[in-house]
Symmetry: none
Subunit: 202 residues, 4 copies
């Protein structure tokens, strides 16, 4: 009964894309495995060769992006030598990810609730890494005197909420393009944290 030409490494990416679209569109709880099976032209039962449960599928989807994001941000930040430069890099990178992969990041924002306690906890650990990244950047900026005297925690929460929230209104077909968005948020966040304008520091 094996479909000729089927191979695991071809099939999984197809399932992956299909589930992302489906979850993005309907939400994880409302989407069902029949829809997914139909979309990838399989029978529901066959999907279980590619994931062990619906929840595990969700988990894989969201942890994969998250890890990619954090790794990429860390990589980009390695080359930066000032706090403010780090802030720009971080914001710029985060915006990029949330635009280029807006479906997955939207799912991570909205459907992470459906994860079991353990899986959610593990997910949150990863997320903490990127909270910390921003915290550290902000702390460094303050030490360097390049931003105002702002409360770090709530500032970080607000920035993150704002950037990750891009996915909730961003439409790829819309007028805003990636470069505009990146520029806008870099500038906006600088203002937000009371960054000393470039060339103003004494």
């Amino acid at each position: 009964m094996r479909t000729p030409g089927s191979r695991s490494d071809t099939t999984w990416p197809i399932i992956r894309e299909a589930s992302i679209s489906l979850i993005y569109e309907h939400g994880f709880e409302s989407m069902n495995t029949r829809q997914l099976a139909e979309l990838v032209q399989m029978k529901p039962g066959s999907l279980y060769y590619y994931f062990s449960s619906k929840e595990e599928l969700l988990n894989r989807l969201v942890t994969e992006v998250l890890d990619e994001i954090v790794d990429d941000l860390e990589l980009k930040l390695a080359d930066v030598d000032t706090g403010l430069g780090g802030l720009d890099t971080f914001i710029s990178g985060l915006v990029e990810w949330h635009v280029n992969r807006h479906k997955e990041t939207y799912i991570a924002l909205m459907d992470t609730r459906s994860l079991s306690e353990e899986k959610l906890a593990r997910y949150m650990e990863s997320r903490d890494r990127y909270d910390q990244l921003l915290d550290e950047i902000l702390e460094r900026c303050r030490r360097e005197g390049s931003i105002g005297d702002i409360p770090v925690r709530i500032t970080r929460l607000s920035i993150l909420t704002m950037i990750t929230g891009i996915t909730s209104w961003f439409k790829p077909a819309g007028e805003a393009n990636l470069d505009d968005l990146r520029d806008f948020y870099v500038t906006a966040v600088r203002r937000f944290v009371g960054a000393v304008p470039v060339g103003t520091r004494s």
Copy 2:
């Protein structure tokens, strides 16, 4: 079979509170009418005396707060005579609502997806009113020269995302209290839009 002492005007508020808590905690799709019934000490079927479907319950919950918020903001804005004053009032009011009624506003943020197309459309119409409110304020500020030359649409989206997103991390037991939050966001948003510092306008 009537439970002695039961009264409609006592029961609905109980059901209302219970559903808000339940949806807040589990999400609308994951919460079920049996849990709700148990929480309010009724049989599942009896709930249908108070709403005609689970979805209609959700609808009621989210449209009610939304309308209350918009009405309140409009009222508060009526007394304000400068654009920047309006901005402060709007932000301050919105933060207040999202803190004081954070469960319902969280539900509105997350579970509105579960509404049918028609109900969602009607909900969005109401939401548009408050988008417009902020748009108008921002436009006015620009005309009055009290803020920088910023792109209105994306600024509005970002501010709203940030404030409504408070509910996604806010814990009433947490360290942040309403006054701090209100002050923080009023100031932050002022910076965000490049507001001319008070007393600086020439």
Copy 3:
């Protein structure tokens, strides 16, 4: 809480008519007490002052017509002195009832299934009376030599099925009027039983 001017002997006929219409239109199992209550402008619970259960309502409806029919037929047959005259009278009367009270007779035809075993048994006893009436008429005709040599049981069943079945296609607004129907069936049944044409008997 008593509605001013309400009286049992005014209300019952209203409920009666409303239930007949409702059951006629939707069938007994598909019709529900909410619909009935709405139609008579009451609350569902209030109906139980007029009948003790939905099934008892049905029972009352169908047994009442049935008894009226049998009584009327017996009365009409009392004056008749020949078998064939009896046959004409019976058919004519039965057609009349099924046209004039076609809703109730239709209900009796279709919804009698929903009666409990005991109630159905009692209903069937009454129905037997009118089977017997026709049996006796047919037997008498045969003794008098006014009809052919036909099998009584199946003839009776067929005639009754045909006449009671009028209700299943009869529409009051339709072209067929009572007189035509009566004439048609009297003649048709005569032919059906091989009645010796009037004036042909030697």
Copy 4:
């Protein structure tokens, strides 16, 4: 979780027979899917592998017989060359179907009401075909002068009501056997329509 040895082409006929018996006995509205599941030794949900809704099951049951009947009658009528011959063939065939498949035909008679408007309409279209068949036969008989001057519509309705109504009293265990019934109705209908006795036509 698959029951060993289960096969679709074995299971559907079993479900089919079981539902026919159940609906025949209790009526469509009173029968429920749990009873059916128990009878075929499945879990209720599994039935939905074989039909998409309870109503669709009913629909399938009644349209299938109906189509079989009409097809068969048309086939049988193809060989007939006189109107009266057609009438005999039609009646004989119809009686046969209502005796041999009396459960399904009874269901079609009684439970067709439970079909949705669209499904009922489609059912009625098929039914019309067989009304027309009889109408044409009767018209032809009249043109050929082999029956009396009778009103076609009501005659057709009465004959059909009578024959289809067989199912409402017929018990397979009863004394009447198929051949008797067929003979009886062929003769009775001939009389009913005032057929000129064979060899009497001048």
